[in-house]
Subunit: 406 residues, 2 copies
């Protein structure tokens, strides 16, 4: 019997991260080279405190794949520098790895979580009996480098494309001029906002305006576009990233800028959508509404993409295979071989090249009037948002989900 494996989740949730967990468990169960399978509750924070469940005999894989958020819970925990060898969290982890005879540590997460894997690999390098440390990517933001895309992005993109299509339909019913501003997640990368643009890229005429953080945002130009659109259509729809910035790099609608304060004098936090709503109301004076898609972008499992879920599952299995090959300090990544028919290859990349770095929308896709850019974006996103995931519903018609946190 081989060494034991521990798997955990960290960072923000998505609807695909449990599919990767299911892939890890399934692959680990299928090999005699791995003994027991453990799950760490609330990431490294929980593991170092001994919050561990056993998953060796868990078999409800399809239900786990259809469960949004994180069945093992999450944490947001930045490990101390590896030079701080006596830091309690490293000492605690060392003890847990020894107590549980851990040979493989697989961590599913985004940029910050890859920093954790990177530090652990460096910290334990040279230690006798050091476990294998592997990162499995997930983030709806799609902003990890060296991978074609990240698990979770496809499902969030599908939610955005379909919801935008419905919002456009909803706003088209009145003859009176109206502006609808939809705020999409993404502090630095515009990937999700491009997905919200899919109703236009796939043959429609809206959303009229699409603004991503990669391109400096000019309020005058925005107002000009709104006015111009109102000349031929009563309904203007805009999709904007929460992280759009002006030419000086300052967030559009940051509280410093809106200057809004409540009766207590506290700064009034409002998103860019609300800010632009106020701008249009003041400068153009027509009916205007802002919509923040909020958590629904990352938790709407009823709209999960089957392509995303199955790929996330495969990626979990590939993580176990890489671990068994002895790879450590690496992340599993996706290479796209072809858009249509869609085909990807799984590979691993050095975690140092990923941790704390961001992959932004490439400059060739910044001009959203350019037919070549539109074609490129559409061909990139379309295969990621296809297919429906079977739902597990109870007697009331509500989804049943898996949780290991109880």
């Amino acid at each position: 019997m081989g060494k034991n494996l521990i798997v955990a989740q960290s960072g923000g949730p998505s609807v695909a991260i449990n599919a990767t967990l299911a892939g890890v468990i399934a692959a680990a169960q299928a090999t005699a080279d791995i003994g027991r399978i453990y799950g760490g509750i609330h990431g490294v924070e929980g593991i170092q405190a001994g919050k561990i469940v056993e998953l060796t005999d868990f078999h409800e894989m399809e239900k786990l794949k259809a469960t949004p958020a994180m069945a093992l819970g999450s944490c947001r925990c930045k490990l101390p520098p590896v030079e701080d060898r006596d830091a309690p969290i490293y000492q605690n982890l060392k003890k847990v790895f020894r107590d549980y005879d851990i040979g493989y540590f697989l961590y599913i997460g985004g940029n910050d979580s890859m920093d954790t894997v990177c530090k652990l690999a460096h910290y334990f390098a040279g230690e006798p009996d050091a476990p294998i440390f592997l990162g499995l990517p997930k983030t709806i933001d799609n902003d990890l480098p060296l991978t074609d895309h990240t698990p979770g992005y496809g499902s969030a993109a599908k939610y955005l494309a379909i919801t935008m299509r419905e919002i456009i339909q909803d706003t088209a019913i009145y003859a009176v001029p109206a502006v609808t501003i939809v705020e999409v997640m993404g502090r630095n990368a515009g990937w999700l906002t491009l997905a919200a643009g899919m109703p236009r890229f796939a043959g429609g005429s809206k959303p009229d305006i699409i603004a991503i953080p990669e391109v400096p945002f000019d309020e005058e130009e925005f107002l000009r576009q709104v006015r111009e659109t109102l000349e031929h259509s009563p309904n203007v729809v805009a999709a904007v990233s929460e992280g759009i910035r002006d030419r000086n790099g300052e967030y559009v609608g940051s509280s410093a800028k809106s200057g809004a304060v409540d009766t207590f004098g506290h700064a009034y936090l409002s998103g860019v959508g609300k800010y632009l709503e106020g701008l249009v109301k003041r400068e153009i004076g027509c009916k205007v509404r802002s919509i923040e898609l909020n958590l629904m972008q990352r938790c709407s499992s009823h709209l999960a993409s089957l392509a995303d879920i199955e790929e996330s599952f495969a990626l979990g299995k590939a993580g176990v295979a890489a671990a068994l090959r002895g790879e450590t300090g690496r992340m599993v990544a996706l290479d796209r071989l072809s858009d249509s028919p869609y085909s990807v290859k799984l590979k691993t990349v050095a975690i140092e090249d990923v941790a704390n770095l961001e992959q932004l929308v490439p400059e060739k896709w910044w001009d959203l009037q350019d037919p070549k850019a539109i074609e490129g974006i559409r061909d990139y996103i379309l295969p990621l948002i296809q297919g429906e995931v079977p739902q597990f519903r109870n007697e009331y018609g509500f989804n049943e989900y898996i949780s290991f946190m109880e």
Copy 2:
């Protein structure tokens, strides 16, 4: 060949209102007693201006039933008092009815639209060759009297129940205390917020707090409930109606109350969710987030309830049948015969008893700790949110919708 029929839509959209339109068209096509079938674009406002399309040969009923919002467009138009007999809009309508040989006028809408039907019936009463005027209810708010519920409510309720279930799942992953406040549509009636409570009523433990406009809202009591919940669960989830009011009838979080102004001195409009977010941040100091479900509550056709869509379709057909029986100045309504198995009967009611009146949540369902209230609400809502509606998707996987507005 009989007289012609005109049908139009008015007020706010829903995902079921086109199913009622489909029912009207289908039933009108099936009888020799009706000649041509017309659709009025943008409600009475468009009809009086001659914006009319012919629907006699339209046959894509299933696609129309799966189209959210309003295929004929909408208006928000309050007719002048009927005593104002020379008002241009009445004169224009009279001419249009004569020009198009209209014998039947069917209007699909909510409270305000029923006011329009009521006024038209009164205005034309006694005129030679006056058309039949009938109202067909729809409103996601479920606040029309004399009908068990309104078409559109079931689909919005399903969106709310499923989305709340997913939000609860999303917020459960961290061990640090956090409060999530979900703001639901409903200025006066709490029907939609009760639907958001379904994950708890159907056997779960959350949302922890549910606040409807019918029950005066006490901020101190709210904070007490949040603190109490935090003692045994790190994640508090609250569902609150946008229209909750304090003991003096003042909207909670009205701008007058928050006093927030921007740099220009304009009042900063924020919903009750944002207001309560600020309150929790200030008074409790933990992580807090508010979510406004916004238009998605009324436009998410991908989550439409089949029960709602088929019932809306049947209601459209019943409207034509009532018109052919010569009923005028009435609205088609639903009588519930049984919760399980679910069974309803279609009837008509006098429009005067409906127009401008509201049906609020009954007092017996105000105490959401009372098991009898919970059972009553659950049995009321459950049959309305069942079943999936077939989707029409194009080559890109996007829904194809019907519009008569082009």
